[in-house]
Amino acid sequence: MEEKKVLFDVKNLKMYFPARGGKLVKAVDDVSFKIYEGETFGVVGESGCGKTTVGRTILGVYEQTSGEIIYRGKNTADFKAEDKMAFSKNCQMIFQDPAACLDPRMSIGTIVSEGLTVHYRNMSKAEREERVNQVLAYVGLTSDYASRFSHELSGGQRQRIGIARALAIEPGFIVCDEPIAALDVSIQAQVVNLLTRLQKELGLTYMFISHDLSMVRHISDRIAVMYLGSLVELGDNKSIYGNPMHPYTRALFSAIPEPDPYHSWLKSRVHLQGEIPSPINAPAGCKFCTRCPQATEQCKLEPPALREIESGHFVACHQIQPVNA
């Protein structure tokens, strides 16, 4: 395998939020992973598993409770002012709800060019306008959208504006936080096609956060599966979907609805009892042990570490042993 350049190296990331009564919501609890340049890193999991928090924390929206985020070999905690500027120019985000993330009082042109006024201070007005038209063309909109307002646009068009805004300052890395969750199926396909096309043309790296497992399978190179703040499985697309090992991953994937009348996914799925525990009182050992059909005493006491089971395929489970051990 060729040597890939590491863009992000996240080590033992923890992000706790204070809750009532002095308790802590452990939204992200000891997560480590790497993102390589040029790839699409998919993050899947059910709601409340911490996938959005991971995305926001590595972009510095939240300051992590502990752990390190190494960006291109440099720890983000040691960033100086100019490093921070360069970081925010290079790393952008596409938000979940395109209606809520566009200011209704700003024209589309102002929204898209706002980043330019910060990161390209020497740009003239005419150059800025030209750049706005260029990114609007990237996302398949004409230049007369620049003078419109977000309420005049449909959901799919608004999401395109969200993408255009992220692209305007020429970033290399984009966190896509559920970019298609608020869209209809036929529009979802348009946006996903757009994202794949832009990646090919501009050489972007994506972190694609979604609960839509079939879309993640479609778009991602490597995939991380999260459960209750922890990473349970990590690997490339083929090994995660072809050979899921963690009991949670298996249950999750078997619950993907398959549009096929001849084969009932509902009957052949792995049954999971119960529901996700609250992240305030997460189980002490393996977080999945309350619902896991294979849980033992050890699982209830010791949290399992993420171990490499096959080449590039990591699983956090006591019950699974490395192949060549």
């Binding site: 059910e46 709601s47 449909s154 799919g156 068009q157 209809d184 199926v185 036929s186 529009i187 979802q188 396909a189 348009q190 996903v192 096609n193 794949t196 609960h211 497992l213 079939s214 879309m215 399978r217 479609h218 778009i219 697309n237 249950a251 999750l252 619950a255 993907i256 609805p257 398959e258 549009p259 096929d260 009348p261 001849y262 009932s264 996914w265 509902l266 799925r269 999971l272 529901e275 996700i276």
Partner: protein, 340 residues
């Protein structure tokens, strides 16, 4: 006289707004028999929820009204002309409904036991309070909620999303309705919880002889649950048939698009997904021809002029598309899974 449990003819529902009339449902006809499940599939704003709400005239004080010439026959009784008293009897006893969002459709200030018992006592005045609560607990047990005696004393915020949806199901079946309408029953739920709720609905379907109407935008859950499927777009039904017919031989370009825009297990990774350009039409406007014409790659001049007639393909399968006309060019459905 109609031999079907439910027969809807030329149903049209409109909303009056300051800018004019919004014609959300533009003449749909369908029927439903006891024991079968009909799915209505379409994107948001296509009129699927408005259609099923009309079946019980569930509009409250909103600006919606059923247009003249519409007919909804439930057990040979006309629903459109029913008065309030008859409607209260129909709602719950005749037709029960499971709403999309279990958080907003349950009352946060009342215990779930009260909310289930309320309907039971409303429809059968002879039931005592204790008895109604006992039945509420039985219903909770039936929908798979552990320790139901404790749960009936709890409020909706003490339950998880999946549990709340189970409570909604318990309310819908509490008065033994003949038809259960499930309006996007799992959209607000996570995949593993969605599977549990669907399994429960499947169980109910097998145990009882109730008819179900499933409203959804998710084709994945349709094929496991429904017997017949109808595809709606901009207030009209474009194609209908059994699930096998629609899966094996979809005839309408919009059905192709719906089926192919979801990546399947076989589809090429990072390939281009089949997508439709543009957005659905504005329902404020009069649509002269086929409502899908503007987005259809196979659009012919006639499509923009006249709405195609419904062409029967088999006893159960029919489609509204000019491509079925003998003079139209022969078009093959695109391969599933997209292309590189």
């Amino acid at each position: 006289m109609s031999e079907h449990l439910l027969e809807v003819k030329d149903l049209a529902v409109s909303f009056s707004s300051y800018a004019g009339k919004i014609r959300a449902v533009r003449g749909v006809s369908f029927h439903l028999d006891a024991g079968e499940t009909l799915a209505i599939v379409g994107e948001s704003g296509c009129g699927k929820t408005v259609t099923v709400k009309a079946l019980m005239k569930l509009y409250g004080n909103s600006a919606a009204f059923i247009e003249e010439g519409s007919s909804i026959l439930f057990k040979n009784e006309e629903v459109v002309t029913m008065d309030r008293k008859q409607l209260s009897k129909l709602r719950g006893e005749g037709i029960g409904m499971i709403f999309q969002d279990p958080m907003t459709s349950l009352n946060p200030t009342l215990t779930v036991g009260y909310q289930i018992a309320e309907g039971i006592r409303f429809h059968d005045k002879s039931v005592s309070k204790e008895e109604a609560y006992k039945r509420a607990a039985e219903l909770l047990a039936l929908v798979g909620i552990p320790s139901p005696e404790e749960r009936i004393k709890q409020y909706p915020h003490q339950l998880s999303g999946g549990m709340r949806q189970r409570v909604m199901i318990a309310i819908a079946i509490a008065c033994d309705a003949d038809i259960i309408i499930c309006d996007e029953p799992t959209t607000a739920l996570d995949v593993t919880i969605q599977a549990q709720v669907l399994e429960l609905l499947n169980e109910l379907k097998e145990k009882t002889n109730k008819a179900f109407i499933l409203v959804t935008h998710d084709l994945g859950i349709v094929f496991d649950f429904a017997d017949r499927i109808q595809v709606m777009y901009a207030g009209v039904i474009l194609e209908r048939g059994t699930k096998y017919e629609l899966f094996d031989e979809p005839h309408h370009p919009y059905t192709w698009a719906l089926l192919n825009s979801v990546p399947s297990k076989q589809s090429q990774r990072k390939g281009t997904l089949y997508s439709i350009q543009g957005t659905p039409p504005d329902l404020m406007m009069d649509i002269k021809g086929c409502p899908f014409a503007d987005r259809c790659v196979y659009c012919m001049p006639i499509c923009k002029e006249r709405m195609p007639e419904e062409t029967p393909l088999s006893e159960t399968h029919s489609v509204c598309c000019w491509l079925e006309h003998s003079m139209a060019p022969k078009v093959k459905a695109p391969a599933a899974g997209g292309e590189e």
